[in-house]
Subunit: 451 residues, 2 copies
């Protein structure tokens, strides 16, 4: 077998997403209402019913609607690569495979769920969707998906990113989205902040508040989230389901499956079908989540009920968290700067069904450059976290003389992250020590709920 | 047939490039030496012999070396798309297909030749390659290719682009290239200009002079060109050869084949195998080259001997030209801002074997936005010229009620052109009238040679 890319035909694209919840040997803790502390679904006024239902579903396989598959076909099935050149560079006996999600028009895995969410919204008559975005990865995926289904898209983009990263904003606008800097004058939440501090740089938490307020306030508008929730993770499983079929063609099966984690969606998308194999087929695959040391919720956080956003509009969830008032250092992997972790990923970690490791940003960029100079593709800084650990494991294989099979998720390309690459290449990139005292402080702010 | 992407396996990738010269019913005019006016090959001191030979070859098929195919596999075979969504938007009975070359790591068709050139250089012991780049599309392709073959790469980047478009520079540096702003202090040509005008913004002509001087001056160094020359066009034919195989799977054959032209390489790559079918199989496919009205060498230039660069270091070629002292307006399709046209493309046009049409930049951006909002992919401004004419022809099909089959080349993505998109979306993009007087002036400067 000497192929570089293992491809699937459009007919081989999965017809259903995989819902890991159906196979778990334990129950997931409920979401709690932020005001009452009582169990609650995700709020139907701002989510379409199809997604409210999926969020709590225990069905094992959930059909991917044909209109969603039709859009998926623009870039799916995505290629699985055998990293021949990286293996050679590392002089490792390991076989390294990576699933590449950067071929989607927005350049990451995010449209796997954005397209599904836009479809269900369209089905239920939604005319307009509001969302927030930090660096713009999620916002551009939703802008793309909304345009294809004829839905208006309003994106509240954290002001500091809006000013410093105009390219992602223009990309969203090219797909027809209305993008405003958050805090904006379009919502009460935004106006209140601006009244206090007209120069406020904004934050992801505030942008969530603005988007949610927008959706709660207009009957034609729903809200959409790009990670963390069960239905988002569900939609991403198309990645791992394809990878399983592709690996079957090679005759290999991974000893390790690796993904980076912020909210947890690309990791889950690749990993959950392999977690299932561990659960039901007696496989012993190591499943490794890689997080930045600047926001190490799994490796340094606590497993507790906490707010999903910064201001308490979202339900309270049991998850590994650094505290919702903790603000991660400004690392360039903006997609990993989240105080918490998807409840489903958190439960797996708590039950020791997955491992986690935290890495600094300079070593991840070093891995990204090694990867770009061997495999060609310039990775997103987020994805580079997975590359770092895949390379470390491949080097271990060389040292131990073991020919293991490694699979990781290359969740996106770095075409909009070249400023970060420049800082790395010129030696100006800072590593942030784990802010122990700051996390300790933030953990004092956890909500008091009956557990 | 309802597929979106028509894929080939790696085994179906062409094993040879197609050399159109072998099938031409006429001889190509020779290149002439700039000093003597005598017929000359491309200069062996700065090109590897394999490429000097390919430049004048009359062999019909030239084998693609296995190490080149190995690198091609990182993104080839490239997908052929059926533009179902664009057809629907235009409400046309036409079938629209496009070959997408933006999936290569540098994001365009350019590595098809960069990889081949790096390979032949490596074979002949070249340690270092010097080249020029304008906006950076070619420079990044060569930086990528050189890194994979372990060759040093020096890029002279036109200073105004170096300053205004740092992202392409950083991309080249991420692949290990040494990039300097041209005029630079590294060459006599650069130093002379800087002595006269320390603030000189540079030009492509000057950057070519610097790169060529660099290569002439160092025994370990060769020079590399990204378009215009026969061997470059040859390497690009992998595009059209794949497209032929892919269309065969659909049962369709194009009535029209469309590509944008600057130097002519992406157009030739797609079109030449179809030109062959016209010549030897009695097909009647219309082959349409699309150029910007700001640099309309085919539709408004003269067919004459002219310099390939601005300063007379390159051989003199018979081609459609606006005069080597003509400087095209600063349109955003930087890759199409060339005063001349590939001699081979020029000869085809002169023999009426291809058509040409010139378009303004605002209508091309309008087409790009329609395309992005239907097909998802954000096109490079260069490629948008082909989209514009493909859409115009599809609209004609609607008006005439004819279900023709249209194939065009989507030569690259627009991830590094978002500044141009912003200008278009905010209504600030200017259309440049065809500068008749300026071309008339420049045509006075054609070299005097015995034709």
């Amino acid at each position: 077998m000497n192929e570089t890319k293992i491809l699937l035909t459009e007919k081989e694209m999965p017809e259903a997403w995989y819902n890991l919840v159906a196979d778990l040997p334990f129950s997931l803790p409920s979401l709690l209402h932020p005001a009452t502390g009582q169990p609650t679904p995700i709020p139907p006024p701002i989510f379409p019913m199809a997604l409210v239902t999926q969020e709590d579903s225990r069905e094992r396989y959930i059909e991917i609607p044909e209109p969603v598959r039709e859009v998926y076909r623009l870039w799916r099935p995505s290629p699985l690569y055998r990293a021949h050149r990286l293996e050679k560079l590392l002089n490792t006996p390991a076989k390294i495979y990576y699933k590449y999600e950067g071929g989607s028009p927005p350049g990451s895995h995010k449209p796997n769920t954005a397209v599904a969410q836009a479809f269900y919204n369209k089905e239920e008559g939604t005319k307009r969707i509001a969302t927030e975005t930090g660096a713009g990865q999620w916002g551009s995926a939703l802008a793309f998906a909304c345009k294809l289904f004829g839905i208006e898209c309003k994106v509240y983009m954290v002001k500091v990113s809006y000013q410093q990263k105009p390219y992602r904003r223009i990309l969203m606008e090219s797909w027809g989205a209305n993008v405003v800097a958050s805090p904006s004058t379009d919502t009460n939440a935004g106006r209140q902040i601006l009244a206090k501090d007209p120069q406020s740089p904004g934050s992801l938490g505030l942008a969530i508040s603005e988007a949610a307020e927008d959706a709660f306030g207009r009957e034609d508008t729903k809200y959409s989230l790009g990670s963390v929730l069960n239905h988002v993770l569900l939609h991403q499983t198309v990645i791992g389901l394809e990878a399983l079929k592709q690996l079957e063609k090679t005759g290999d099966y991974p000893d390790m499956v690796i993904g980076c984690v912020g909210g947890g969606s690309n990791f889950s998308g690749l990993a959950f079908p392999f977690v299932r194999d561990n659960l039901v087929s007696g496989k012993k695959t190591r499943i490794i989540a890689v997080e930045p040391l600047a926001a190490p919720s799994l490796t340094r956080g606590v497993y507790a009920y906490d707010l999903g956003d910064a201001v308490g509009m979202a339900p309270i969830a049991k998850m590994y968290t650094l505290g919702h008032t903790f603000v991660p250092a400004p690392i360039h992997a903006g997609g990993l700067r989240y105080h918490g972790m998807a409840p489903l990923v958190s439960a797996l970690y708590n039950h020791k069904m997955i491992e986690a490791v935290a890495v600094h940003q300079n070593p991840t960029f070093a891995a990204a450059i090694d990867f770009a100079r061997s495999e060609g593709i310039l990775p997103a800084p987020e994805s580079a976290h997975a590359i770092r650990v895949a390379m470390d494991e491949a080097i271990k294989c060389r040292e131990e003389g073991k020919a293991k099979t490694i699979l990781f998720n290359l969740s996106g390309h770095g075409h909009f992250d070249l400023g970060a690459y420049e800082r790395y290449l010129s030696g100006q990139l800072q590593d942030y020590e784990y802010p122990e005292a700051e996390v300790k402080r933030a953990l004092q702010d956890l909500p008091k709920v009956a557990a």
